[in-house]
Amino acid sequence: MYRKGYFFTLDAMMSLGILIIGSFLIFTSYASVPSRVQTAILAEDVMDFLSSTKIRDLNNPYAGIGGLLWQQGNITNADNTLLQQAGEFYYRNELGLAEKFIVNVTNELVPKPYKFEFWIDEYRIYPSSPSQEHVSSKNTTKILLPSKKLTYGILNKGMDLFGPYKSEVLVWE
């Protein structure tokens, strides 16, 4: 009764400000949820692709049936999955070939804002020589989720088995 109307106006404006700032803070914290989930899904997707796609199902001029590696005799078992083939290269200590193979079969599989690494046991197969930008982005990322799978396969017409090795895909934004 004794106050002027502008006190109430000022009070309402301050309240509105508090509500806006509070809502902004709450919804900003929600914004980080999708990227974490997407990173996990992407890591699993890359691993699923490598572990479920067979050489015979791959339409790729470098790694598919009749492709360069096939013609050179580096790939001989069309029933190998891509993961097994990388594991076989690792078993034969052909790490350079394994890296080229992974680069080729995962081309455009991981969208631009994301980066990934592929490891077998304690060896980083891809990238074997990471750029400075790659290293710093990995060191500074807040979300880095791995997808692990065991890798093994039959060699020498059923006489031998290589592995089991731990294969790991790391994805981050």
């Binding site: 109430f8 508090i18 509070g22 914290s29 974490r36 692990k148 799978k149 093994y152």
Partner: protein, 324 residues
């Protein structure tokens, strides 16, 4: 006097807004942080371990069963060659080889580091190092049998458990089946019956049942290929490990012995392998036939067959002459 404290100050709306935001932050913030921090990690952990269990069930057991069995067959043939004797029992011999790496108590270098138990122990160590889980395996039974002429069937009955801090799996009597082609394995019949002097690998002929003729028979002998005749009395590949020369209902295979590879080339036998080695027609010249076709006779002069095999190989009696 009756208006109250909010009516006296201009902080009415501010106070309400602060209370509202506090309520909203309390409601949403804590639950959000718990979900974000923990759910994907636990989910990823469980998915990874479930994939590991699926890998064991769908692929690893089959792979190690194939590799160990392949080596066990080689090891049994090698044992038979070294000791020049047949196995007493195929099933127990195979089981001993594939699980313990030995045949009749003699350890085999072929099985070294490749028994089923060794591959399972390797996987248990691997899973502990990689996934930080405790994995236990128990092989209940491993079997080998034949239902088709050119393949052996393998069956593994295994129980296992995978235990981690987030989840555990307990699987009993899981059955894994696999098959192995018998081609490229040495025929145990030849190994033991010739003291290892005549070793022949199983190599399936590509001649169809109704396409046999003298020319094909010559190649069949020359290259040591094997045929399956549905009405034959030949034993299967597995029966050859125990010198069982009864007819196999499903899986009998047979080759023709090449006389030129024998020390004694001219024997009064049918040169169909199982008849030759079990001597069931030995000396019965009235039941045996020489091939009279000139080119054939030039290459295999002492070769003889019984009447049933003349029929199987579509050799007309005009091209034969009774052995006596």
């Amino acid at each position: 006097m009756g208006i109250g404290i909010f009516g006296k100050r201009g902080i009415f709306f501010t106070f309400i807004a602060v209370m509202l935001m506090a309520a909203l932050i309390i409601i949403f913030s804590p639950s959000t942080s718990i979900n974000v921090a923990n759910k994907p990690v636990v989910k990823t952990r469980v998915i990874t371990l479930n994939d590991f269990v699926q890998d064991l069930e769908n692929s690893y057991f089959e792979s190690i069963l194939k590799v160990s069995s392949h080596r066990a067959i080689l090891a049994m043939a090698s044992y038979m060659q070294s000791n020049n004797k047949f196995l007493a029992d195929m099933q127990s011999g195979f089981s001993e080889a594939v699980l313990q790496g030995a045949i009749n108590g003699q350890s085999s270098t072929i099985m070294k580091n490749n028994t089923l138990n060794e591959w399972l122990a390797r996987m248990a160590n691997f899973s502990e190092d990689t996934f930080n889980v405790d994995t236990q395996f128990t092989v209940n039974k491993v079997e080998i049998y034949q239902a088709r002429p050119w393949f052996v069937d393998l069956r593994l009955n295994i129980s296992f458990s995978v235990t981690s801090e987030t989840a555990s799996w307990e699987v009993s009597n899981f059955i894994t089946n696999a098959e192995l082609s018998i081609e490229d394995f040495d025929d145990p019949y030849y190994i033991v019956n010739t003291n290892g002097n005549y070793i022949q690998k199983i190599n399936k002929t590509d001649v169809a049942l109704d396409k046999w003729n003298l020319e094909n028979v010559k190649s069949h002998i020359r290259y040591g290929t094997y045929a399956h005749f549905p009405d034959s009395r030949a034993p299967s590949f597995l029966m050859r490990f125990t010198n069982t020369s009864m007819a196999s209902a499903c899986c009998g295979i047979e080759s023709l012995v090449n006389p030129n590879k024998l020390a004694n080339k001219d024997q009064m036998e049918s040169y169909a392998d199982y008849l030759f080695f079990n001597h069931s027609l030995q000396g019965k010249c009235t039941e045996l036939y020489n091939i009279t076709d000139a080119p054939f006779r030039a290459e295999f002069p002492h070769f003889k067959l019984d009447f049933q095999h003349l029929v199987f190989y579509n050799i007309s009696l005009q091209n034969t002459k009774r052995a006596c």
